[in-house]
Structures are given as C-alpha cells and as structure tokens.
Assembly symmetry: C2
Homo-oligomer: 291 residues x 2
Amino acid sequence: MKTSLDCIPCLARHALSAARMATDDEQVHERVLREAIGALSQIDMAASPPVMAQQIHRLVRQVMGVDDPYQSVKQRFTQLALELSGPLRERIAASDDPLGTALRIALAGNAIDFGVYADVSEADLQRTLDRALKVPLEAEIATFRQALLGVSDVLFLADNTGEIVFDRLLIEQLPCPQVTVAVRGAPVINDATREDAETAGLTDRYEVIDNGSDGPGTILTDCSAAFVRRFEQASLIIAKGQGNYETLSDVAGNIVFLFMAKCTVITSRLGCPIDTFQVHWTGQGSREEGA
Amino acid sequence: MKTSLDCIPCLARHALSAARMATDDEQVHERVLREAIGALSQIDMAASPPVMAQQIHRLVRQVMGVDDPYQSVKQRFTQLALELSGPLRERIAASDDPLGTALRIALAGNAIDFGVYADVSEADLQRTLDRALKVPLEAEIATFRQALLGVSDVLFLADNTGEIVFDRLLIEQLPCPQVTVAVRGAPVINDATREDAETAGLTDRYEVIDNGSDGPGTILTDCSAAFVRRFEQASLIIAKGQGNYETLSDVAGNIVFLFMAKCTVITSRLGCPIDTFQVHWTGQGSREEGA
C-alpha cells in the first residue's frame, strides 16, 4: 500500500512523540523533530507507510542514542493487558460464541497503537474494549470463521505490545492444531518483539519466531529468509494490525487481516468509518466462488 | 507567544492542505509538501506560530505560483456567512441582551479558521453557532462589557473571511462612537483582506484599514507604520482570533481578545478545554484593582 502525503506530517508528529517518550529534554525533542522532517523532505514517497515509519524511527533512535524510546509505555500496556486478561478469558469462556468474543477482544487490542495515536490511555483502551464487545460484527466473525475452516497451521503475525496479550486469548480459541506467533525482529514504535512476547507469557505456550526486521509491519524484503520461508509455508496467515495490512495487502497468500481502521489514509482506502473493526480475508473471493 | 514543537507537523499538514485547495495535481501537492517540510526543518523555533505560518504560506504560494490558494473557500464562506447574517441580525435584535448575543455569534465565527483546521464544513459552522448561542458565557460577556466601558474609539482586528460578516453583527452593537476595522495586508490562509471586507459589505459602513502584513495574526514588526500608529492610538483593541492572540498576547496595550481555542497548543497554555470560547482582556487586572 502506497503512502499518502497525509502520512508525512503524521510521521513528523510521531518522531516528536517518540522523543517525548524517552526524555523530557526539549532540546532533544527539537533536534529529533528537525532531523525527522529533514529526512521526510527527501523520503521516497512510493514506499508503504511502515517502510517510511521504519526509516524515521531508526533515525529517532539513532539521534537519541536510545534503543527503544517506547520501552516504558510498552511495559505499562503489557501490565494493563495482563491485568485485564483474566476477567476477559472468563468472559470468553462464559460466552455463547467464545471464538467471536475472543476475536472482538483481539480487535480492540489493536487500539494500543502508538504508531497511529500520539498517546493511548487506559480509559481509551477500556472504551474500545466495551465498544468491540457491543457493536455488530457478525459478518466479520463469519469471515474469520470461514478463513479458519480446515486450516491445520496458522502463522499469527502479532502487532503491538499489550495487544499480544489479547491476541493470546484469540489464539487459545483457534481450532487449529499448530499456531506460530511472529513478532518484530527489533524494537520499533510499540510493536511487540520477542522480549515483549516473553513478558506477556506467550513464549511459555506457543512457538514464537521473529521476522528479523525493525519495520512496523511485515516488509517481506526486509525480513529474514527463515521468516519468509515460514510465511510462504503457512496454510493461513492471521495478520494483526494496520501496519501488517499496509505492508501485506498487495502480497499473494491466504491472509486474514484483523485490525482497527485508525486513520483517514486507511479509512479512505477501505471506504469505512474511522475506528471501525476490520476483518479482511484475501481468500474470501476464491472460496466464495467455490462455495 | 512562542511556537510549540507541536506546531511543526501541523504547519506541514497545512501546507499540504493549502496545495490541495488550489489544485488537484498530486505532483504539485508533493512538491509543496517537500519544500514546506524542508523549510520547517530549518525554521527559527523561537518565533510565534503565525510568524512561522507566514513563512510557510509564503513558500506555498511561491512554489505554486498562486497568490491566494484559499480564494474559493473564502468566497464560499463569505457567501454562507452573508446568507446566515440576516436571520442572525434578527435574532440579536430580538434578544434580551443584543451585545451578548452578538458576541456569541462573533465568537462562533472564529470556527471558520483554515489555519487550524484542514477543513471546515457548513455543518461544522452551524454546530458551532448553535453551541455558542447555548453555552454559559455570562462571565465572558461581562468581561467584554467591562472592557468597552467609556471607550470612545475601537480598533477591531479582524481575523478570517466569512468570520468578519459575523464580526460586523458584533460591531453594530458596540456602544462606541468610532470603530475602525483592520484586515491583513495581503492574502494568507483564509484571513480577511480589504477585498474580502468589501465583498462582506464592511467597507460600506466602516473605515477599513489594512495592517500591511501577510502574517496570519498581527506581527507588529511586520506591519505598516500607519497601522502601528493606529494600533498605539486606539483606546481599545478588539483582537479577533487565535492568530491575533498568539501574536499580541505579550504586547502592551488595552486589548480584548475574542477567539475559540482550537488546538492543544493554545488550550495547554490557557488551561482550557478544546473548542471553548475565550474572552481575555489585558486591562482586566488593573481595572478590577481600581474598581
């Protein structure tokens, strides 16, 4: 998916936001912002938004000399998600449709996205959870269920820290014998890495691989050969989050995208209202034709 | 008022928005955006937001070879405001407090601000008008009334095109024998110039002067000597809009600022909620002490 010009000011805003996460020093904020917009004035606008974000966030980390400006916010949301996950798991178990309820919760988890929002509060997350558990999503749940039919092994492309705790609740409900969870190869924004998957308790139960890339999406040309092999071999890929959609929506494969449409660039493309929960399955057309 | 770093991405967004107002050519949009963010990466961040906006909008006009990218949107809002002004004038006349009602309407008119918003719709304006006519503003109206006490001549610093039609309704209610209306010296964003004041019918009844500057505020060091003299001689200055507040809030003088607080940079400074109607009078402290 090509970057919109609207992404450029947004990326500048996020460079500033990343700097503020890591330090209170306003001189550093200014230096990071100046460097980021200088780079943005020269950037290749044919790239996808996550490719551009990868470059800008590399620059931010380099200018600041900080490996992970989002470390504390990531810890905060892992902690919060772990606190919420007990009651949410009970709610799923007590539900008439555990898979559907778990899907709603995983979709809501995609609100924990510091790559779109400058800030996310605990209250924002709770409001999104409440909304995801209420709004009509029957068609989306049916699409997801159809995508899973007869699938033996799933590659689950995780998105953000904290969100992956909610993803685990969904993974627990998948009727597939084998699920592998893939995380980013290195810190970028608040995207989940192996370390975050460990803190969230995912590595205890699932095979967790990393994609070898520090892009906030799945930029296959930037991923490790080992990851790409797993990507190509999976019967079904569940791709979580807007960044994975932006990088994989034009890629061949049996992929079901689960995300919340959080900015006007994506809502214009999809023709959907802002902050709606999206389930898009690349296999839908062919299977429907075959049905 | 010093620029916040948050203004920088916002100014980039507005350069893009200005380009889109003037042409559908996406290559031009990209060129304007690249040039604007290149300039922003070097800009003096000690300046006020309108000083920076002045530089960026000059650049936008120069890159596009267009004198006034906002011309059509300005015409649209002048037309709309003129259509609304008849019924609003009747509403003011029928009101228990004509001055207070006119002030509410003038404050709502400040929503027509393409220097803060990327877009403003007719529905947005109507919603703001409805809100301004309902919310409690008794303290603000009292402050404004107090500022006018015993004032013989007023210099009214107008802000935006369309908005000045609503300002006229307020000016008609001022209990001051002499009112001069000042507009910008040249087009910038959707700020009102002499031509816009003429289209709005203001020049028929009031002396209209221009400030000699293409800044979206009142940058005294950039204004004509003739304007500065009038500024210094006025018994009371009524300064409309956020841009005038941002450029004059630290300037000595008997000034009453009327605006809607439309972005987080200004709401953080004032400690007020977003989109609230503001009346700030520099003379308030001294007069209250003397009362």
